[in-house]
Symmetry: C2
């Protein structure tokens, strides 16, 4: 099966919800509400059909008793009915010519021997008709691209992010949903969120490969407990990493975690050291915490890759500069050394007792104009990335002007620009505005520097890999 076989899952023109319902609290109702855009502005772009053995209507739509009764072509079936009925219903979908199915229903391999058999049966039916299946035991897909949305958590407690260029794959449904909610709060735009559950058919490697060719997706991030097929994963990840960054948080790293993972998704999480080695070989960005997954994805989503390790830092708070300098060294980066002409130019701009070394401390009384002048001079030194730290509590800073000046500098330079804005509620407002203009903002200096460390690691891997491919094109195979 080739990669375009996933098109019906990601780009359906018509959907049928099997198990559609108006019953309060039911999964079938929640999915219908999502697709019809009842609680939101997000109506699915294609045609929607409802199936329920009880017949009747659902939200004014005719409810067919079987998919076979529908007199139209159907691309994707979303199945939310008790597990034992799934294989039979999937068989009908096959007969109808449906080529994609998201099986929400739980009660398969995750519940033991009997469920395992049911999952095998499901898979047999899928193979018979050439249906690609996501799930079972999953939340499915959320995508602002077409407003495909099978995430059935109630809308009053499940935030859903706007359109963006980050794809997020989660082996865990519940945790995935929580971080989908987090992305909404953080204004982190997504192209696709996929909770793929037991991965009976479509697995993490298939999804990676598909998204590597998706024009809406620039970065792929994953929560992973274990991979289904190690060899396939290594092959796919190495290929994909050449095109797009893959950022992974992997759990099940320790003895305790492995045991817990086994009882959770049944995943053999495998030796942590081996996965680390695989990640290194494949150019995967393996992050330390689940939060970093999104902090790193944000940077990849908004800025270019740094061309090297030399970082410049501009700050109105000396303390924050010290923390940033520590982080630069701790994470193996380098503080750009300024040549004499740059220092001379800084000396002209700055008050006499300010430091013209990197980090440049422009002092607590610095107005936005001083920021602007200093940043421009520092960019002339051609650092590989610049971190602008601003303690916006200072009375000297005009916040609107700060946003204006930083965004206009961002437009003029190719040098990756990150901002660090420690603080409270007001700061969040300013951060939002900067991030709209593709300046990633972090709440502490350490976070911004660590993100650059990850980016630099990836850039280095990519450069070296591409060089090798140029020299020995066969090595790519």
């Amino acid at each position: 099966m080739n990669n375009s076989s996933l098109d019906p899952l990601f780009k359906p023109s018509s959907i049928v919800v099997i198990g559609a319902s108006e019953r309060k609290g039911s999964v079938g109702r929640a999915i219908m509400e999502n697709l019809l855009g009842i609680d939101s502005e997000r109506k699915f772009h294609g045609k929607i059909y409802a199936v329920n053995i009880k017949g009747g209507t659902v939200f004014g739509l005719k409810c067919y008793r079987s998919v076979l009764e529908i007199d139209d072509k159907i691309d994707l079936a979303v199945i939310a009915i008790p597990a034992p009925s799934v294989p039979k219903v999937l068989d009908e979908c096959g007969a109808k010519g449906v080529k994609g199915a998201i099986v929400i229903s739980a009660g398969f391999s995750e519940v033991g021997e009997e469920g395992r058999k049911l999952e095998e049966e499901l898979l047999k039916v899928a193979r018979k008709w050439g249906i690609r299946v996501i799930g079972p035991n999953c939340l499915g897909i959320y995508s602002p691209v077409s407003n495909l949305d099978t995430i059935f958590n109630p809308s009053d407690r499940q935030g859903k992010p706007e359109l963006g260029n980050i794809a997020f794959l989660s082996q865990s449904g519940a945790l995935g949903a929580a971080f989908l909610d987090y992305c909404a709060k953080e204004n982190l735009g997504l192209s696709y969120f996929v909770s793929y559950g037991n991965a009976a058919d479509v697995d993490e490697s298939d999804l990676l490969l598909y998204l590597s060719e998706d024009p809406h997706t620039k970065v792929i991030c994953m929560y992973l407990e274990g991979v289904k097929n190690g060899r396939k994963f290594v092959r796919v990840a190495s290929e994909v990493s050449l095109k797009k960054p893959i950022i992974i948080f992997k759990s099940g790293k320790t003895r305790y975690g492995e045991k817990a993972a086994k009882s959770h998704t049944g995943a053999l999480s495998g030796n942590a050291k081996i996965f680390e080695a695989v990640a290194k070989k494949c150019g995967i960005i393996l992050v330390d915490t689940i939060e970093e997954l999104f902090e790193v994805a944000k940077a990849f989503s908004k800025i270019d890759l740094p061309m090297g390790k030399e970082i410049a830092i501009v700050t109105n708070g000396g303390g924050a500069g010290v923390i940033a300098a520590d982080a630069v060294e701790e994470y193996g980066l380098v503080l750009k050394e300024f040549p004499e002409n740059i220092k001379a130019a800084l000396r002209k701009i700055l008050p006499p007792h300010a430091s013209v070394e990197n980090p440049v401390d422009i002092l607590g009384d610095a107005p936005v104009e001083r920021y602007e002048k200093v940043i421009r001079v520092v960019l002339d030194a051609k650092p590989d990335a610049i971190i602008v730290i601003a303690l916006l509590q200072s009375p000297a800073i005009d916040h609107l002007k700060f946003v204006r000046i930083l965004t206009s500098i961002k437009m003029e330079t190719n040098i990756p620009l990150l901002a660090v804005l420690p603080g409270g509620s007001l700061v969040l407002e300013i951060s939002k505005q900067l991030e709209k203009h593709n300046i990633p903002v972090y709440s502490t200096p350490e976070k911004a520097v660590k993100v650059l460390m990850y980016m630099n690691k990836y850039a280095t891997w990519q450069r070296e890999k591409k060089k090798r491919i140029l020299v020995h094109p066969i090595a790519r195979k």
Copy 2:
């Protein structure tokens, strides 16, 4: 000088603001506004006097030309005038009998040789009259205890937290203010915030000692670049740690950081390894990031010390349980092993395919009642701490009931209880409610586990230290 000499700084009955003004954007105006409670509900509890050489009135108060003209006893002078005039004005304060001064003014040792001389002069005057001085070059004190507040950042951009039991000392003013703002957003209550600037007189050790006896303060956290007097610091910190936890984020740990710190506060940050050894010896909790400072302080502020390393975890999301289990092992803690009777009791409560091992995965369809029953059984196993993870996006959870049940369990047990609630905006609301009832909430499992690691380290230090003191009482000296 003994410790009560700091009383006029922390518990003044009357304050004079020298440099008081109505001029917009001036420091003297901001401080007057704070003390008079003009932009907030927080009026200073004692008497307020204004001094400005220009005379006139400030916000309806008579403005004296010199502190000597005031016909009342003054405890504390807040000085915000140009640096060169400070020694003379401080001398008048001495003559008036003022025993405490917060010198906001910058332009002392931080600006070079001339400033250093001025600072020496200031110190000489202070010693002559026995005035204890905080600063110069600082933001001073913010405290909801008496609404003493010399933080002069405009109120529209500087959040200030409510009353709580955490004291926060910052060597950096600007960074301190940013994290004061952060505390306000995070609803982290403070007893005192002190930005102590150049520490010409009162240094970090004096402040530690004073706060160790302050009844409002349960936990002390510090941002530190370097200590003024190493020997004194070791002696004081060892004493204080026996009574209250001291949590420190120290910057200037690397070659880069040290250089930046030197140009910032002039602090000799010293060798990182040495400071680590000092911290270990003194029972100081040395955290890895500035954010951890507050995450750890929150736990100390709200829960008892764990008596050991055995952690229990209850979760409605398997993935989050796996992450927590990994963290427990990575941070050197232990998953409590449940005896057979506990497992049997859990088996009775849980669906057949749920795990009765620790972490207990009560499954995604768990209602609050299942949480309640499971937590009670798990507490019967007497773990040293329990982490309750809840993915509140689940449709099965009644949020109000969740808060009610968790808070009532909290009331009934001495076992430290922490919550982990990953997600977005709604989750923040629930977190606030739980934290009001002294259940510290974290956004990821790793954070909660790491906090317990720090607490356990401190508890172990304290137990061993106290044992040694009992055996060799002289060792305490």
